[in-house]
Subunit: 609 residues, 2 copies
């Protein structure tokens, strides 16, 4: 058998596996697997170079299946490559199997979860950047659907790839004409896709996605122009099975047993050689030694300093002791103060412009290759990347995010720029740490804690300068809190974080003058919360708790504390309850009911009860 015949036979097997797997599972997306079967055969058994014994081999080409609903054919390809047993394919979508309905890193060859469409290209850009940064000979392939090209995030990623002149990335677009609920926007108009990719600075190659010699010919041109390459493959959804081909109504539908038998008969028998021998090995390459220190020397602060500025200082210092640390920005580095890192380490800094989805997606790709990316923008604009952040959890990604300009304390710029829902974005993310410093010392401590944590971490920083509260070497462990003020006669507990810690301290002065003693906790670790300490300190303060935060009522510190002390403590929750507006920071804190005066009033009311 020659190479073409072998690849045709492998494509048949991949089709048959995909159909059998989904019928056995009783659900899944077989027709979207059939359209890309010839592309998959050419990719996994001719074009890609990878060490089947080690997904972490630094010489490997990477593949991201952005059209994640085609997971069955991905698993089938790994089975034919000898990476997983062929029998395991029949466990698709079972609770006990790592072969899920959409790819997740439970299967160790998957480095980023997919299934929310349009995200894979950004992840691929991050991986390709990491390969270049770490001098890997590997390239990154992203297999996309035509439907997902409607997602703006695809074009953010396309911009980034051409901006960075990534000739080591290739998008393979499986243009099968049909989306879930009908035809895609452009149907089989491959020229429309070519125009778009070219306008975004890519080399675009249009090819018949079912003619293996043509596919191989296109693959040979990848990266030859110095640009990123899009292989635009015209395909037929359900290809190979007459009653599925190009038919609407077959998306996400497994075949019944009799339909399966008919389909397999139509596809016909595939030759029985060992496909493993077709896999190309990677070139030898050593993974760069980056060091993973997090014990940078802290900055001595004496004057009021914004936590966002201290974040910038800490990131720079962390970068000096840890070569894995990278900075990614969304055109606000002079506000988040990531600019210090950008100036010191231009080669480890990535401008994503005003494209937050791509910023986070790139970060997931960089982290998947072993780097430690810190991404920063206004907290409000991280909402733009909420889906990428959500998916990062399923990718079990080691990304760090910083959201600056939180709350009404930003002042005059007004509500569109105020991060008032970011805690509610990050607190639900399984495994994500949420840190919220109140002064420059704790901001640096939080950067250290975030860097040392394996997994996602979010740091919330404030625009205005705040007073120094802590000594130089104070540590801020994840899950801790700081008891800032305490006396035996405390009649209430104030739980605050960030800017409201300073308001709480002012409120305490006011209350002390009236003879009311209160305890104050700085809950810098919003997730996980220091629940036991909170309960103990609450009990010692008469179980009367005021929580005050520069955030909307739902999903933030107030509800977190309420959930922990439910049944034992009375809770007053001060937070931003109405639509804010432009104004001076102090005016807004007061108007929204989270200033010192309001805290003192809430304490008075509680202790009177």
């Amino acid at each position: 058998m020659n190479k073409i015949e072998k690849l045709e036979a492998i494509a048949k097997r991949l089709r048959i596996h995909s159909l059998r797997m989904t019928t056995r599972a009783g659900s899944g997306h077989p027709t979207t697997c059939l359209s890309m079967a010839d592309l998959a055969a050419c990719l996994f058994f001719d074009e890609l170079r990878y060490n089947t014994r080690d997904p972490e081999d630094w010489g490997n080409d990477e593949l991201v299946l952005s059209k994640g609903h085609a997971a069955p054919i991905l698993w089938a390809a790994y089975a034919e490559a000898g990476i997983i047993p062929v029998e395991s394919l029949m466990d698709l979508r079972k609770l006990t199997s790592e072969l899920e309905g959409h790819p997740t890193p439970r299967m160790r060859w998957v480095k980023a979860a997919t299934g929310s469409l349009g995200q894979g290209l950004s992840v691929g850009v991050g991986m390709a950047l990491a390969q270049r940064l770490g001098k890997s000979p590997g390239r990154t392939f992203v297999v996309m659907g035509d439907g997902e090209c409607a997602e703006g995030s695809v074009w953010e990623a396309a911009n980034a790839a051409s901006q960075y002149r990534l000739k080591n990335i290739c998008a393979v677009v499986d243009i099968n004409r049909l989306g879930q609920s009908g035809a895609t926007m452009h149907g089989h108009d491959t020229a429309a896709y070519a125009r778009k990719f070219r306008a975004f600075g890519w080399d675009a190659l249009v090819v018949d996605g079912h003619r293996i010699p043509k596919i191989l010919e296109a693959f040979r041109k990848i990266g030859k122009t110095g640009k990123p390459t899009a292989v635009l493959a015209r395909t037929v959804k359900g290809k190979g099975v007459s009653f599925l081909e190009d038919r609407d109504g077959w998306h996400g539908k497994a075949l019944k047993e009799d339909e399966l038998a008919k389909a397999i008969e139509e596809i016909g028998p595939a030759a029985g050689f060992d496909a493993r021998a077709c896999v190309r090995k990677p070139r030898a390459a050593a993974r760069p030694k980056l060091g993973m220190r997090t014990d940078f020397k802290r900055t001595p602060y004496t004057e009021k300093t914004a936590t966002r500025l201290a974040y910038g200082n800490a990131l720079l210092k962390l970068g000096k002791v840890n070569g894995a640390v990278l900075a990614v920005d969304g055109d606000v580095k002079n506000s988040t103060y990531a600019d210090r890192f950008f100036e010191a380490f231009p080669e480890r800094s990535f401008q994503s412009y005003i494209a937050e989805q791509n910023m986070v997606g790139m970060g997931i790709g960089l982290a998947a290759k072993g780097y430690l990316p810190f991404m920063a923008t206004f907290a409000a604009f991280l909402s733009r990347a909420h889906d990428q952040i959500r998916m990062a959890a399923y990718s079990q990604s080691n990304i760090k995010l910083c959201g600056s300009h939180v709350g009404v304390s930003i002042g005059e710029d007004g509500p569109s720029q105020m991060g008032l829902e970011d805690l509610a974005i990050f607190r639900p993310i399984p495994g994500c740490v949420v840190l919220y410093p109140s002064d420059p010392v704790s901001a640096e401590g939080c950067v250290r804690a975030a860097a040392g944590h394996t997994g996602m971490a979010y740091i919330r920083t404030t625009r205005p300068a705040t007073a120094v509260l802590y000594p130089l070497d104070e540590e801020f462990p994840i899950g801790g809190c700081k008891i800032l003020r305490k006396s035996e006669g405390d009649r209430a507990l104030i739980v605050a974080a960030g800017i409201t810690v300073h308001e709480a301290l002012k409120a305490r002065e006011e209350l002390l003058a009236e003879g009311i003693e209160v305890r104050i906790i700085d809950a810098y670790s919003v997730m996980p919360l220091a629940a036991e300490t909170l309960r103990k300190e609450s009990a010692e303060s008469g179980n009367k708790v005021v929580v005050v935060e520069d955030h909307y009522p739902a999903g933030g510190l107030g509800e977190a504390v309420a959930a922990e002390v439910a049944g034992t403590a009375a809770v007053r929750h001060l937070c931003v309850r109405d639509l804010p507006r432009s104004g001076k920071p102090a005016e807004l804190l007061d108007m929204c009911g989270i200033s010192a005066g309001h805290i003192a009033a809430a304490v008075r009311e509680l202790v009177r009860e």
Copy 2:
């Protein structure tokens, strides 16, 4: 004075206003106003047709300032047009002024808040669609920055505009080369923007944005090719003031008094005619009478039916009695069941393909013109549009959203498709109603309640079919709850919603067999919550509460209930605490600890305490 001279004089005035306003406010973005001053003069005082006495005149052209940080020049233009007093400009950014740092509808000519970049074009597409739908002669202009063209949402909107063949929309891009933190991706390469817009099906006109005759010439070509039109204006940031022109480091910075004096001197005096006479009046047009009934006839259900299917049925029936109702879809209408509406009312249905940001942005635009858009996709994918949803609150938008396929109960498709953070997205949105039906009757009731509510509403629907719990005509008012089971001997209260209501009912059977009586509440109105009823029923049930939800721990029903009963009731919160995976729905409910067995166990534990 001829027209050109007048417009040049107006541009001078707009520049001077913008500089004075921001200096007086002590903050703001004057240089981004200066770059678009000539464009603004041509737009507001020659090209746009609008009735200065009525922002709701159906004949008006609409203008969306997508580059919202240029708010000062927008306010200045409205002052010169006689809509607001010129003196009021000096109140920019004050707490008491409607002239905020970024545009919000507190100023009634603003129909959609901007300031999160890249969103305006989608809003404009929605407005232009509404104009066409309602036979308005008006057109929609969207003034954009070059920096924001990096946002993928811009290209989603560009797709939509060409897909809908909107010749009544014009994007005016102020290409001033500088972003916030440095040069934009393409700098002054206007051809790069032209290539992109043309590839996305637009007519693109490149023009010198400071030569008024050239601008007017370009404007005369708008819509002439039958395509949407992009006017790509090469401009200079800070234009007109030598020490600001094309300089980095001046973004978002007001001039000091002495700098202001120098700048105004450089700009020179502007002729003193009345600019109001330059404003062009709109053609007479009558706003369509759409009717706003919400009392559609409900479907009698006898068999298990998914709430998502009942949503689809209800939307169709609502559409029959209410001509303002529109449906917008993200290529999943056969899963959300919006397809029934699409089939019945194709002219009132809008396919946004897999582009959720644009889906919501278009909806904001449609609602801004008086329509009642219902947008539906998988709840998980609404996270993609979180920033648009956030901004919709500041737009005080009357949009309705439906998120289907919530929670682990979707089963085998796996975590990427599970909406597990959607309550935490919508609960913090000020003024947003969150409804979560548990059966087909309540699903239809929730659609009715959402339609009758003025403001944002979110409906959370479930994939699997659920049993009928309520009689045909049961009402589901906002802020209510249903006491489903109640007896005098109740020793605990179970608060559930959606699929977990059915698990709670099963748990009660199990507990009754052991002699433990429990009360059950269906908390279909998650926001606002029926807090008083909850507290009363909790008190009558021994103040022992189990909350169970198919959602992550933070920001959902559990924390909402805990916050309301803090200090009085002991609360057990059952929810999805770890990363879920593919599996059968019942297996996953059990694995995640939210099945009947786990509810019964939690009740047993509570009543033992």
